[in-house]
Amino acid sequence: MSLRNVGIVYRKELTDSLRDRRTLISMILVPLLLFPVLMVGLSYIAGEVIGEARRQPSRVMVLGGEDSPGVLAALRQAPKLSVLPGRPDYVDQISEKRIRAAVEIPPGFEAALEQGNQTAVKIYMYEGDLKSQVGIERLQKFFRDLSDRTVREHFAARHLPEGLLKPINIAQENVASPEKVWGALFGGMISYMVILLSMTGAMYPAMDLAAGEKERGTIETILCSPVSRTHLVLGKFLMVMTASLATVALSAISLGGSFYGLGRLAVMQADKGPSLQMAISLKSIAAVLTLVLPLAVFFSSALLAISLFAKSYREAQSYLTPLTFVVIIPAVVAMLPGTELNAKLALVPILNTALVSKEIMTGTYHWKYIAMIFASSCVYAAAALFIAVKLFQREEVLFRA
């Protein structure tokens, strides 16, 4: 079988696709912009909003406490708290965000503290509101400090050692490598994105190269050339796979860039503490991309075959768009904590790659499963490619009216 014609078809489809705006957007623009915009943009905005909330003093109202002047005075002195006198409409004030929280100090509060009796304060807040959250954190800190101080004073008065306050100090130290920590946090998400993008990257070229060709009437033109239909479909398939892999590769670059950007941003915002630097080995990246390869073949062939069945671009779109969910569901299942790889799941297409990629990202290599998944994915990919080639031979599919 001469492969010269496969190469000619591939080169033509590549030239053609690189001039198609929709393919360019899905293959280059989306993967390059998606991660930076999502990650750097969102974290920048979130950082700004949180920073703003932390810089401003919180307006809080004190309800009661007339017989606890010391506590009231200390509250007024507390940093970043703007204390307002109590009013009966405090609930409305919180709901309308004129104040961020209110604290109710019961009668005899200060006296109870002095006598060593247990007492309570109640904080009213607006659940889900960031500035209200910051407000109650400040109030909680104030009362925690007051509580600790009171206990220390009582201990001192009774000449008891302070160590009794907290007889056991619990220390913890992380022994997992940064790669494992990073992989556990982001591995699932990255596998999910890589798998999803290997499909979406193939989607538009698949529609354009099969259904689009039928719609534009060029299918008859190409079928009357001497190229065999097998060579024709292989050339088209290679182009769709190129788009799929290009999308994945560009996503990987863009993802790396985004994490680097995030790291820089965290360094610049020094008050946010040390950032979690990207820790991922080249070995993990290579392993995941190798596993995604048969999946890209599978997606490219399957999408091409389905698209060929459609009469028009629009019909192909209506078949292929819902398929995104078929990919999203197993990928999301793989992301759920507790879903672990086993021999049965290793045979479920898409889900198997998602699960094993997640593990590889944490630096765990189950070679038995990796081999099983690679082999089963290759079988599925070969079957999908075989179906696509066979469909290209069928007149009722090519000339479906």
């Binding site: 078809v9 033509k12 030239t15 534009r216 060029t218 033109t221 001497p226 190229v227 007149e395």
Partner: protein, 245 residues
């Protein structure tokens, strides 16, 4: 040379059941001659020509085109055939030259030979002005020229035209008609389908009247006139088809 022997094509339709689009069609077309398939819409012209161009496979029967069997050697048939119809569209995102080059390469032409052929054809069809323009930016007439260049790039022995002038303006249609004549003058075997009587009268050496997938009458224009005692081809056509119905 084209020799069709009992070509039959049956389609299965969910609603209408079995459809015999082409039913036992046999004819012969010699080099340097134009064979015209004259028939109304749905008569089976397009299916018959698609079978000859090996785009469709016959259910029964076969044909030899340029000495090759359409069933057993379809790729060799296509290598020796130029197929043109109004349904054979262009790749809009390729330039006129890229489009013709693509087909030339698929026909196995070497680069030097390919460019020599393209220069020659573009010169002859007066296409140099728009050779680098994208096909979707071309006028209908220009597009037809690009299609003609595609059919000629591999210098085929046999030309198949399926209603090549449908929907074209007078000037573009004349270009096509002139091109078909030139093919005959260059000794090519030409078959073309039409439902336009005047085109058949002007061009064809032999006319086959096709209806319901069968060739009901065949002969030169003079033979048909003599057989049906009518001068006007339209009258002959109505007579033949009317008898069949």
């Amino acid at each position: 040379m084209i020799e069709a022997q009992s070509l039959t094509k049956v389609f299965q339709d969910k609603k209408r059941g079995e459809i015999r689009a082409v039913d036992g069609v046999s004819f012969r077309c010699q080099p340097g001659q134009i064979y015209g398939l004259l028939g109304a819409n749905g008569a089976g012209k397009t299916t018959a020509l698609r079978i000859l161009a090996t785009i469709l496979e016959p259910t029964n029967g076969t044909a030899k085109v340029a000495g090759y069997d359409i069933v057993t050697e379809p790729e060799k048939v296509r290598a020796n055939v130029g197929f043109l119809s109004t349904a054979t569209a262009l790749y809009g995102r390729l330039s006129a030259q890229e489009f013709v080059e693509y087909f030339g390469r698929l026909h196995g032409l070497e680069e030097a030979e390919l460019h020599r052929r393209i220069d020659q054809i573009f010169e002859r069809l007066d296409m140099n002005e728009f050779r680098d323009r994208r096909c979707d930016k071309l006028s209908t007439g220009m597009k037809q020229k690009v299609s003609i260049a595609r059919t000629l790039v591999h210098d085929p022995q046999v030309m198949i035209f399926d209603e090549p002038t449908v929907g074209l303006d007078v000037m573009t249609a004349r270009t096509i008609v002139q091109f078909i004549r030139e093919c005959r003058e260059h000794g090519k075997t030409v078959i073309f389908s039409t439902h336009v009587m005047s085109e058949a009268e002007k061009l064809c050496d032999t006319i086959g009247i096709i209806h319901g997938g069968r060739i009901l009458a065949e002969g030169t224009l003079a033979e048909l006139r003599q057989r049906y005692r009518q001068e006007d081809l339209e009258e002959i056509f109505v007579h033949v088809v009317g008898d069949a119905q």
